[in-house]
């Protein structure tokens, strides 16, 4: 793997992790009624993180994974790592930037309403939790895929 693709893969992982951590901070901020400044900043980091991870991961996937990694996995001991988990991961990931953008818009534009309206707050918490669950799932799938490369 050339340094360019190494950096793209590493960047994809780091920005994805950063976005996940930020989403956790938004979730905890909402459940603990933390200051909205912190929640807002974290929601923004989450959106940016997922979008950057999308671009970096996409570049790596289209230009390197398909040609070099996928054949290696499919001919190796764990072909299902591509057939099931990579195919799933590359599509489930696409949900994350949109979900995190909606969450960010919610906490930026409607912070007072989220504070006052318990139904709206619960919905925000649920959305943040869904982002976390999907992001963690995608991370585990990525680990399995990495492990399957000969």
């Amino acid at each position: 793997m050339t340094p360019l693709f190494q950096n793209f893969l590493l960047g994809h992982i780091l920005f994805g992790l950063l976005a996940t951590v930020s989403s956790v901070m938004v979730f905890l901020g909402l459940v603990k009624n933390a200051g909205f400044q912190k929640i807002r900043i974290n929601s923004l980091v989450g959106v940016l993180g997922f979008f950057i991870s999308w671009i970096l991961g996409g570049y790596y996937y289209v230009n390197f994974y398909g040609q070099q990694v996928k054949p290696a996995i499919k001919s190796g001991n764990y072909p299902w790592a591509h057939g099931i988990f990579m195919e799933t991961k590359e599509h489930i990931f696409l949900f994350l930037p949109f979900l995190s953008l909606v969450l960010a818009l919610l906490v930026w534009f409607l912070k007072n309403e989220v504070n006052k309206n318990s139904r709206l707050k619960k919905a925000g918490i649920f959305l943040a939790f869904m982002i976390i669950v999907l992001a963690v799932s995608v991370t585990f799938m990525g680990m399995l895929i990495s492990g399957a490369v000969k």
């Binding site: 590493l10 992790l17 951590v21 963690v136 990495s146 490369v149």
Partner: protein, 187 residues
């Protein structure tokens, strides 16, 4: 110092902070409730320790993924990733994570609402099983993760490791229930 050494050191530090934090947190909790209530000062300590725990968890995750990335680049990580020990470790790490979220969502607000109030009140006593369950899961999980990481010769299968883990959790829950009844409810 090469990246591998940096990441391994980070992984050890993360584990130490997590195991230490979980131990102190549980010890502080039982110490706090001896007088039948949690004071603002005691709760403040618990929150501080919780922050250290989360920091440890973050360091653990980042360094762990860093190590996996290094293995992926250099020698391939198949033997590691698909070993029963690693899969069990990842399962328990996920449990630590979601248990931590649950603690902050449900348990800490409970403490905050009940500061300086008797813990054997009807309202709090109904929720006590949640409190000690999350504590038991936290401490058993952190020690399990440490053991799984350090016990090189372990060759048990994934189901065997998980059965043993669940058994430890159940044993912990029984013990915690007994201790809580003795301390808080003085039965």
């Amino acid at each position: 110092m090469d990246w591998y050494s940096v990441l391994v050191s980070g992984h050890i530090i993360g584990t130490a902070l997590g195991v230490g934090g979980a131990t102190i947190s549980d010890y502080l909790f039982f110490k706090s409730v001896k007088d039948g209530k949690i004071t603002a000062g005691e709760f403040s300590f618990l929150k501080a320790v919780s922050k250290v725990l989360w920091l440890g968890f973050l360091i653990l995750v980042f360094s762990g993924l860093g190590l996996l990335f290094l293995w992926r680049l250099n020698a391939g990580a198949g033997e590691l990733v698909f070993s029963s020990k690693f899969l069990a470790k990842m399962t328990v790490v996920s449990i630590i994570f979601f248990n931590g979220l649950l603690m902050h969502w449900k348990v800490f607000p409970l403490f905050e609402a009940g500061l300086n109030k008797p813990l054997n009140s009807e309202g709090f006593s109904k929720k006590i099983p949640l409190v000690y369950s999350t504590g038991v899961i936290s401490i058993v999980s952190w020690y399990s993760v440490m053991l799984l990481g350090s016990w090189r010769e372990m060759r048990f299968s994934y189901p065997v490791i998980m059965i043993f883990y669940v058994f430890l959790i159940l044993a912990g829950l029984v013990m915690a229930r007994f201790v809580v009844r003795k301390i808080i409810f003085k039965k």
